[in-house]
Each structure stands twice: as structure tokens, then as C-alpha cells.
Symmetry: none
Subunit: 232 residues, 2 copies
DNA sequence: GTTCCAATTGGAA
DNA sequence: GTTCCAATTGGAA
């Protein structure tokens, strides 16, 4: 019985994640077909919305849809989340709601510096970078978020644990990535995708390794280029 | 308590199914009002969606259930509560349709030697071993199937590719596991779980590495034991 | 230009 | 007693 519930829980999360992806698709399509003159309005609204604009908007819209659509009412879900004893499971599903309550730390600076919170809300990235995230692939999304949160150099010189490889115990260990930021990336990804944390961590490990290779490659190129004429 | 949950579960499922139908309506409308030139993009996305088809299939199946039986809630509660019990759990995460299509090539030999086909049907394992497979975890299930198909020694001395590690190019490569059997294991696992092939392969790689360690450990133990009295 | 693959390792879980 | 973790590597994809 409990097991059944476990599977239903997983399935429910999957479906909800699928729903989120569908919303993303809808937003993409809407953006595509939207008359240009409306984009100005969009910007205005963006200012009005505090904090996690995109996510908040998404959740609100979801609730609006449900209440608009007859039976399917949001009061039902409210009831269930408050009444049921299995809190964790519900929390799992309604994470986005909690996210909406995270105090908005958006800076009121220029538009170009607009930030958006990911994960717990403690980690901020540029809105523009967030927009480029590919929400179809957890691997791609993780890598994009990594580049939004850390510089290439940091990624190249750090790793998940700060420990050296057990297979290369003589090689010096790289430094440890800011674990709070890593955690926020993982939270963001596992909220949006039906993927286990360890797989996200694995992607992060690989990304750091890849950036490390690229970093070294760039450094050797730098050393080699001066032998040729540097002027273009 | 359980009744509350049953009630909420049914309600949640209804909401999700309703949401899916709403999505379809939305997509239809969007397609209608979308400028033609954007359809090319849609085609591109189609590739991405193919990747998610397992999930989609799962959802569709659910919808089929509900439409087949007019009021899906009755089917659901019947299935989960009365007849199948734990088997229903498997049905929840597995794709029962695909499972049904796997040609059963069970041999009609003695009961003790009864074999069961996995994957494409070309690979046979003992029924008893098949029964011990834990269908809750793709990792555990993969490892059990590996031990059912290969001996510990083979696992210890072989690997997926037959190539040596790029990180240890001096070390001799292990032999290559029978790729047909490997393929059947992967097919069996990906039929039963919503997991990508690369993750199953990763588990196989790790299992071989683990068996290799254990094999070496056993060998060193064998060499050490004779110094003590071997009797018992 | 990046991402992904998989073999190896020692120790943690 | 096994499984899992993650750092490293070169090259394939």
C-alpha cells in the first residue's frame, strides 16, 4: 500500500514536471507569435513582478487556468496539501509554491542587471542567462546554470568535492565549488526535471572536467600564439 | 487516513488528466493561430519530444484507461486495492504494453531448468534468478541480471567496450562482454524502467569494476589462506 | 566548440 | 558484502 503510494508520488511528480515543460513550450510559442508591440508591455510587467518572475508567473498562471476551468479548482489542491499527513510528498509536489514565497532578492538596479533566483533563492543569476536555459535537457540545463553561476575559470579550477581522484592520488586536488550555489543549481534542476540528484552531480563533475581541459587548451594556445604574429 | 489519501489520490489524478487534456486543447489552438513560417521550428522540436516518448506513452496509457472505463476512478481503485497488490507497483513504473510485446521464448524443459527470455528474447536466464530481480531499482535490477547472465569471473575480467581506460592507457584492456547479451539486458531494463540506456551502461561498467575488485580480493585471500591451516 | 562516453581508482555509504 | 561516489583521462560523437 505504501509502495503504491510511493509510485504514485513519483508518477505525480513526473506528470507535474511534464506540465511545467509544457508551460515552457507554451511560453515559447506565445513569445514567438506575440505581436512585437506587446513586448514593451511584457517588460513593464516584468518590473511589477517581484522576485522569481518566470516561476511565479508560471505558478500563478497554472492556478488561474485551473480556477478558470470549472471543476479542476485550486481549492481542491489547497485542501489536500493542508489536510494530508504525508507532508513530505506534498512538499515535493508543491515546491513551486514554496519557491514563490521565497523573499525576493531581486536587485532594483538597471534592467541589464536584472537577476533571478534559482534553487533555494539564495543564488542569483542574470535573467538573460536564465532565458537561454534549455529546459528540455537536464544535462544541458545544468551546464548552462553552471556557466551562469560560476566563471569558466572557477569551473576549470574547482570540483564538487575538493578531493583528488582516487585513481590519481598523487595529483593535487582542485578546490571545492561553493556548495551553497551547487546546491541551488541542483535544487533548480531537480525541481524542473524528473532526475535524481546524483545524476545532476555527475553532470557537474563532467562539466568541471571539460572546462578544465578547455582551460588548459586555451593556456597552451596563449603560449603558442605569440610565436606567430599576434596582430590578428 | 488511507481513505483520505485514496480520495485525494483520485482527485489528484483527475486534475492531472484534466490538465493534460487542457494542454492538448491549448496546443491545438496555438497551432491554429501560429504563423506558418514557425512550423519549421516545431519540426525541430519534434526530435526532442521523441526522446520523451516513454513518458508520453505512460501518460497516454493513463488516459486510455480513463476513457476506456468512462469513470477512471473505479478502475484505478479496483486495480490497486483488490487484485494485484504489489504487482501493480511494477505496472505503474513499467510500460506494460511494451512488456507484452516482448516475444516470450520460454523453453518447456524441466522445471528446474526453466529459463526465461530477456530483452530481444535471445538471452535466457534461470527463472529463479529472474524472480529475485528487484523491479524497484534499475540499478539493482541491472546488477542482478548481469549476475544471472554472466559469471562473476566473466564480469570481473570483461568490460563493456573491451577498451582500456583513457586514463590508464598503459594498463591492459579487459575483454569485451558479449554485446548481444549486454544489449538484451539493456533492452530488458529500459523496457521495465523509464531510464536511458547510457545510465544502464554506466551501471554495467561499475558492476564490472566492482566485480573486478572483489575478484582480486578473493585471489589475494586465496593466496594468504594456505599459510594458515586450510582445514575449515 | 562542447558534450558525452566509459575505464580506473579508493573509500564512503 | 555490495553498491555508490566522483575525479581523471583521451577521444568519439
Amino acid at each position: 500500500m505504501d509502495l503504491t503510494w510511493e509510485y504514485d508520488k513519483i508518477k505525480a511528480k513526473k506528470l507535474i514536471i511534464q506540465a511545467n515543460k509544457d508551460f515552457e513550450r507554451i511560453f515559447q510559442i506565445l513569445d514567438e507569435i506575440k505581436p512585437k508591440e506587446l513586448n514593451a508591455d511584457r517588460e513593464k510587467y516584468a518590473d511589477v513582478f517581484d522576485g522569481n518572475q518566470r516561476t511565479v508567473a508560471l505558478v500563478n498562471q497554472e492556478e488561474d487556468n485551473s480556477s478558470d476551468d470549472s471543476n479542476y479548482s485550486s481549492t481542491d489542491s489547497d485542501d489536500s496539501s493542508s489536510s494530508i499527513g504525508t507532508i513530505n510528498d506534498v512538499a515535493l509536489i508543491t515546491n513551486t509554491h514554496q519557491k514563490a514565497f521565497v523573499p525576493s532578492k531581486k536587485q532594483d538596479s538597471d534592467k541589464e542587471n536584472d537577476l533571478i533566483a534559482i534553487g533555494s533563492g539564495a543564488t542569483l543569476i542574470h535573467k538573460d542567462k536564465y532565458r537561454t536555459v534549455n529546459w528540455k535537457s537536464y544535462s544541458s540545463a545544468t551546464r548552462t546554470l553552471l556557466l551562469a553561476v560560476f566563471s569558466r575559470k572557477i569551473l576549470a579550477t574547482h570540483c564538487l568535492t575538493g578531493k583528488c581522484s582516487p585513481a590519481f592520488r598523487n595529483k593535487p586536488a582542485k578546490k571545492c565549488l561553493d556548495s551553497k550555489k551547487v546546491s541551488d543549481i541542483i535544487i533548480e534542476i531537480t525541481n524542473k526535471f524528473d532526475v535524481k540528484e546524483n545524476l545532476v552531480r555527475s553532470i557537474i563533475t563532467t562539466k568541471c572536467a571539460d572546462e578544465c581541459k578547455m582551460f588548459k587548451m586555451r593556456q597552451t594556445n596563449k603560449k603558442e600564439i605569440p610565436t606567430k604574429t599576434k596582430s590578428q
